[in-house]
């Protein structure tokens, strides 16, 4: 009997107590406001502006202590924001608008990516140079709301995505394209496209080069949709102190992205130091491509361009995916976006001498190493 009592006692001894503190929401202590930002994914150069602003103290200058929350497979940033578990969230505009339509009370307060990073990539010898050439091909797409630019592009070219192409659910690596399982694959300029260029071409024994592929860039086709933006809680924007915090947060973020534009290598190192498992050359590539999506910014970083917004909303309402669904069923109501706070942040940054337009920005030529090392 004593023998049995021992493990029972051990089981009873388990203290599974967590620390109960931090009720969520901004809290101000000694003049420092704590802010949580929910990212879409793990730390990578796609979020370098925020990481740099934390590490370089740009948020601290504003009196903010910003905590970055990494994403995960089942973490939906705009939902985390709407549930009050974060103060701001980074999310793609169409996906966030879809959550909005389902009741999430959120507002786009800073449109940091002015351009779309989505490509449709194929081998050059397949002769797929425009969306119309996809007819009769096996077309990979990620689904889950990542596919609408592709579907809009095909629809614009007069194809019926349901009939004229074979749609294939794509994994998050590029094996399917390299093996020829699919003819064209979805890829982000700053991630999957780089993976292709880090892979060895079995025919030559060297890495693939951009000349081996053709890229359909949705910005050029005209079916690009707005991507990474900073979203805030609509309800809390009525509160003066949250408004102030929003301006401060955006001002710090603007400075962070400007820093990464001018110091790509330093930002790469910051991202790698945060524990990213992707290699250094891959991160530098990603930093460079991310900067290209932001800079140059003719009106100023973070401002929502009315025409781009309208196109994103129109495509979200008109484009059907293979299930016949559109992103949105009606126009976004209420305050879906506002330039009010980012304009204040821009004015503040400009007077502090930050170049918020980056007219002189020239992308680097990044050399990718095998495996992104």
């Amino acid at each position: 009997m004593r023998r049995l009592a021992l493990p029972l006692a051990a089981l009873l001894l388990i203290s599974a107590c967590g620390t109960a503190d931090d009720p969520g929401g901004t809290s101000t202590k000694d003049g420092v406001t704590t802010v949580k930002l929910q990212l879409q994914w793990f730390y990578q150069a796609q979020f370098a502006g925020y990481i740099a602003a934390v590490e370089k103290g740009f948020y601290t200058e504003q009196g903010l202590k910003v905590e970055l929350l990494e994403g995960g497979v089942d973490i939906v940033p705009q939902t985390v924001l709407a549930q009050g578990r974060a103060d701001y969230a980074v999310a793609w505009v169409p996906k966030a608008l879809a959550s909005r339509e389902q009741g999430a009370q959120i507002t786009d307060v800073g449109q940091f990516f002015a351009r779309s990073g989505s490509y449709q990539v194929s081998f050059a010898n397949k002769g797929i140079n425009s969306p119309g050439d996809l007819k009769g091909k096996k077309v990979g797409n990620w689904g889950f709301g990542n596919e609408f630019e592709l579907f809009a592009g095909m629809t614009k070219a007069g194809l019926d995505p349901g009939k004229d192409v074979t749609l294939v659910q794509q994994q998050f690596d590029m094996q399917a394209l390299l093996r020829g399982d699919i003819d064209a694959a979805q890829a982000m300029s700053y991630n999957e496209y780089a993976q292709l260029l880090e892979a060895t071409n079995p025919a030559t024994g060297k890495l693939y080069t951009p000349a081996d592929f053709t890229v359909i860039d949705w910005n050029k086709v005209g079916t690009a949709m707005l991507q990474d933006a900073v979203w805030a809680s609509t309800e809390r924007l009525k509160d003066k102190s949250y408004q102030d915090t929003t301006v401060k947060f955006l001002a710090g973020t603007i400075k962070g992205w400007a820093f990464c534009r001018d110091n790509a290598e330093a930002c790469r190192d910051l991202v790698v130091a945060k524990g990213s498992k992707l290699g250094a050359s891959h991160q530098l590539w990603q930093m460079n491509e991310t900067s290209k999506l932001i800079w140059p910014s003719t009106k100023g970083i973070g401002l929502v361009d009315e025409a781009d917004w309208q196109r994103t909303v129109d495509l979200s309402m008109s484009t059907k995916n293979q299930d016949g669904k559109t992103v949105l069923t009606k126009k976004p109501d209420g305050t879906a976006y506002t330039n009010e706070y980012v304009q204040k942040a821009l004015d503040q940054a400009k007077s502090a001498g930050v170049d918020v337009q980056g007219a002189g920005f020239t992308p680097k030529q990044v050399t990718l190493n095998a495996g992104g090392a």
């Binding site: 967590g18 931090d22 793990f42 995960g72 093996r179 498992k277 992707l278």
Partner: protein, 278 residues
């Protein structure tokens, strides 16, 4: 000794099977009527075992620590999460079983819910539990809770069966001694339940590992083996061997937990004769 040899032979057999399929299998897989019934055997899909082992020794990132060190650290982190999840799950399962044995109405009312709990898909549950991280408890605790959620079930069901296993004659004997419910539980029911408890604990251990790994992936918790699986799988295009190192780590973790549960069982049951389960 014989067990160790047997285990080694099993590992060897696995390696031989892997490599021989690689040798004879079609590199492009076997496709029948448009459906791939046998997997591809090229290096990208099935790297050589030796390549995976070599990858363990090479640095994770240029200039970084070798992969095996990173894996060991990650396994220890997940082992911690699994242990907490397992213990919480086992305790909850045990208490539920006792409660259900004691009150017939509790069994009728609770058992369907216990069974139902396991039909809730983890992907639906994980974001909810993840939201509690950093508020009610530290973030890793959310993953432990997911592990506990999977682990409590076999214990609750197995233990209930065990507590109900004493024969009516035994129960009546206890009653004739004027033993109360508590004494009957300690002297009769719990000892009688041990043959049911340990298989249940083994299942719970395996479930806790699965819960911890899946929970890490789902909530994006940094530091564990589940996170490594998904981080490395992003490099499947260029470094397939690396993906398998992470899976190897996860498998190793499962073995360690299974071994730990078996070690717990040994001192408690060695004095018993083998009990045949009805």
């Amino acid at each position: 000794m014989r067990k160790v040899l047997g285990a080694l032979a099993a590992v060897l057999l696995g390696i031989v099977a892997w490599e021989s399929y690689k040798a004879v299998g079609d590199p492009d897989g076997t496709v029948v009527a448009g459906v791939r019934i046998l997997p591809r055997s090229d290096d990208a899909a099935m790297p050589h075992v030796l390549d995976v082992v070599r990858r363990l020794a090479r640095p994770e990132l240029a200039g970084g620590r070798p992969v095996w060190q990173v894996l060991v650290d990650a396994c220890l982190f997940t082992l911690g999460i699994t242990t907490v999840g397992f213990l919480v799950g086992a305790l909850v399962g045990l208490l539920l079983a006792v409660l259900m044995q004691r009150f017939r109405v509790a069994e009728r009312g609770l058992l369907p819910w216990v069974v139902l709990s396991q039909t809730v898909p983890l992907v639906a549950l994980a974001p909810l539990v993840a939201g509690w991280g950093g508020r009610i408890w530290p973030a890793w605790m959310s993953v432990s809770m997911i592990a506990a959620y999977l682990a409590f079930f076999p214990v609750a069901v197995g233990m209930l069966r065990g507590l109900q296993s004493p024969s009516p004659a035994g129960v009546e004997l206890m009653r004739s001694y004027a033993a109360g419910w508590w004494r009957t539980l300690l002297k009769l029911r719990l000892p009688a339940a041990t043959p049911y408890l340990f298989p249940a604990l083994r299942l719970a251990g395996a479930a806790a590992v699965v819960g911890a790994v899946v929970g890490e992936i789902s909530t994006g918790t940094r530091g564990g083996i589940g996170r490594l699986v998904i981080e490395y799988s992003r490099e499947a295009t260029t470094d397939p061997a690396k993906v398998y190192t992470a899976m190897l780590g996860a498998a190793l973790l499962g073995l360690v937990v299974a071994g730990a549960v078996a070690a717990l069982e040994f001192p408690l049951t060695r004095h018993r004769r083998k009990v045949l389960l009805p």
